[in-house]
Amino acid sequence: MIMKVSDSMTSPEDILSVEHLSMRFGGLMAINDLSFTARRGEITALIGPNGAGKTTVFNCITGFYKPTMGMIRMTRQNGEEHLLERLPDFIITRDAKVARTFQNIRLFSGLTVLENLLVAQHNKLMRASGYTLLGLLGSPIYKREAKKAIEKAAHWLERADLLDRADDPAGDLSYGAQRRLEIARAMCTDPELLCLDEPAAGLNPKESLALNTLLRSIRDEGTSLLLIEHDMSVVMEISDHVVVLEYGQKISDGTPEHVKNDPKVIAAYLGVDDDEVDEAISEVESLDGGQGA
């Protein structure tokens, strides 16, 4: 599953490249021949109307669904390439370093906030504990690593503004705090690509703003992001690159500025027929022209 970069057609800046991805559920083609790339060090947003297949793309990338066709290539910083469509979900996180959050938050609600972050460091701690055996015997290596894990958790708690709640059950947090905790937990797996499924959903404007800051800082520290978002203000504000889906197909791809002005995107969001698109375009243009004059 790990290949050398040489035979790859994608450029080295591409961290994730999705090629001809299709996913069929019975008679429904949820994704139809979708290709796009996400570049390293950028925030890529996946947007589209309800039912466009965004979450399905996520589930394919993170291994929860096996795509009917197509290829998903993850290129790690060290040059390792992983073909995600062939890997089981947990290996994608463990070896390919892709982490994700969920649209309907999935925290370990009965564990404390801190424990949630420790569970995320499972594989590292597992090795440090000699697969439990050495840990049971009280190995100093494990003790050291366990301490480090708590420090790392504390670091992310601070970043997510949750330090005060560290010892409370995760289920006790407010909605916004749960969203932040889920991101912090995903970051504790040391991902190179972080996939966020509607991170701003249900947040108030203040929380939304704090989220933007958090996501930007994550990007600036070298983790690339791929996010599904409905909140256009968030998308336009923070993403470097936007991919627009409709009915499982890509209808636009480019900078936020480019996508915002793409008549196809406007049509998709306004929900008009094809022959009305031209009308819509002319209207938009006339509006722009009117404002410009």
Binding site: D89, T112, L118, D172
Partner: protein
């Protein structure tokens, strides 16, 4: 019978009226329920023909008790409970005194257990202590150990296992068969039994752990029954329903507990008594329990233990964090099975006899009940549940004095399982999360706070 109580502040008169109405309803229902089963008794006469006779008096007593009980409940008990609840809600202050005791409860319990046999012996003499050490000590501790072992599977990993007794059986038969066929000693076979049980846990676990929730429960139940049926029918090896008898006893570092010159009694110049062996077994099972508890407590702070609890909370989230859920479940299953195996080999050494009778589904149900009644995941709660449930029912055996009230035909033992079942129902209704509903976090940053049971989940797989 369980009519909902209206919340209106009833005046004395209307309360009594309501109580009478409910009591009447209860009486009629009780009459209906027990009309056939209490009102009549089936039997066989001398010529073995089935006969039936009426017991109207007994039926009347049942109805009367139910109706009067309901009346008293509505008039006195419910207002009292309501008042107490209100008082409790008003008083938020918690006394700190209780927490000191709570914090050290395990140490107190351990000290009490260590001194239990000598105290009993000094009170009742060696021969008199037998019953207390064996029935109340060893019997309860076996259940404590089994429940702690199952707790790893059900309480921590959230995997509902209804066939746990199978591993107990594997352990018991491993010791029984290997010692009688190959003459291996208890101390060699104790670890082997545990390993074999763990191995079986792995084999049975591997195909079934993909299943979720109740499906897992029913397949584990099926496997438990299969193992028991094989034990019954594979007569060449297991001697079938006759069971394996004269299993060698455990020895104290090679010192046997028998009447031989190098036996325990002779060696220490003590008079012969079977109590020594029982006392030895008591300490042995105590140590086994402590090992179980120690390993469980340590495992909870290991990544694997945290992964178990995470698995109980949300399996999909676990997978999204790179946790291999299959191996995680398998470790829980096989480690739980291993403790069952240890307990099984101890059981065989204690009884000197094993038969498939001891490994019926009801045993699995009782162990599971203890885990849930105690509060899943809580070692203290489970120990308390084991003491209350098994100790309480053992106590019934001793209640010979009840014969004075109910006549010489009254055998309290018959009511043991009836009361056990009723207790399970009542405790669950009053405390659905068990005696100890909260969980201790496995790590903390600043302050260790117990997690309320309302947040923890019970697992789906």
């Amino acid at each position: 019978m369980a009519n909902t109580v209206l919340d209106t502040p009833a005046t004395e008169g209307s309360l009594v009226g309501k109580a009478i109405k409910e009591a009447l309803f209860t009486g009629v229902m009780t009459l209906g329920l027990f009309l056939l089963y209490i009102g009549f008794r089936t039997d066989q006469d001398i010529s073995n023909t089935p006969i039936v006779y009426g017991r109207p008096g007994l039926l009347a007593i049942f109805v009367a008790i139910a109706a009067v009980g309901r009346f008293l409940m509505v008039v006195f008990v419910q207002p009292l409970l309501k008042a107490r609840k209100e008082a409790k809600a008003a008083a938020v202050v918690q006394d700190r005194e209780a927490t000191f005791f709570k914090k050290h409860i395990l140490k107190f319990a351990l000290v009490a257990l260590i001194f239990y046999p000598p105290v009993i012996v000094s009170l009742y003499g060696f021969q008199g202590s037998l019953k207390f050490v064996d029935n109340f000590g060893i019997q309860i501790l076996i259940y404590v150990m089994l429940a702690w072992g199952l707790n790893i599977v059900v309480g921590l990993a959230g995997l509902l296992d209804l066939g746990y007794v199978a591993f107990y059986a594997v352990g018991a038969y491993s010791y029984a068969l290997l010692s009688s066929y190959y003459g291996l000693s208890f101390w060699v076979l104790l670890p082997i039994s545990g390993i074999l049980a763990a191995f079986w846990g792995m084999i049975l676990g591997f195909p079934v752990l993909r299943l979720r929730g109740d499906y897992l429960a029913i397949v584990t139940l099926a496997f438990g029954e299969i193992i028991r049926l094989v034990l019954i029918n594979w007569t060449d090896v297991t001697k079938g329903t006759f069971g394996v008898s004269s299993i060698p006893k455990a020895t104290l570092f090679g010192i046997p507990f028998d009447a031989s010159p190098n036996g325990f009694a002779k060696m220490f110049g003590l008079p012969m008594s079977s109590a020594y062996y029982k006392i030895f077994l008591f300490y042995l099972i105590l140590v086994l329990c402590l090992i179980t508890a120690y390993v469980t407590i340590r495992l909870r702070r290991m990544p694997v233990g945290r992964a178990w609890e995470a698995l109980r909370e949300d399996e999909i989230a676990c997978r999204s964090l790179g946790i291999n859920t299959v191996t995680t479940k398998l470790t829980a299953f096989s480690i739980g099975a291993m403790f069952g195996g240890f307990a099984g080999s101890f059981f065989a050494a204690r009884q000197g006899f094993v038969s498939p009778e001891s490994f019926v589904f009801m045993e699995s149900a009782v162990i599971l009940a203890i885990v849930v009644l105690g509060g899943m995941g809580s070692l203290t709660g489970i120990a308390v549940a084991a003491i209350v449930m098994t100790g309480g029912t053992e106590l019934l055996r001793e209640m010979e004095f009840l014969k004075h009230f109910f006549g010489p035909d009254f055998t309290p033992e018959l009511y043991r399982m009836l009361l056990f079942g009723l207790a399970m129902v009542v405790v669950m209704i009053l405390k659905p999360r068990g005696f100890v509903g909260s969980r201790e976090p496995s790590a903390f940053l600043r302050e260790k706070k117990a997690v309320s049971g309302s947040f923890t989940k019970e697992g789906h797989g």
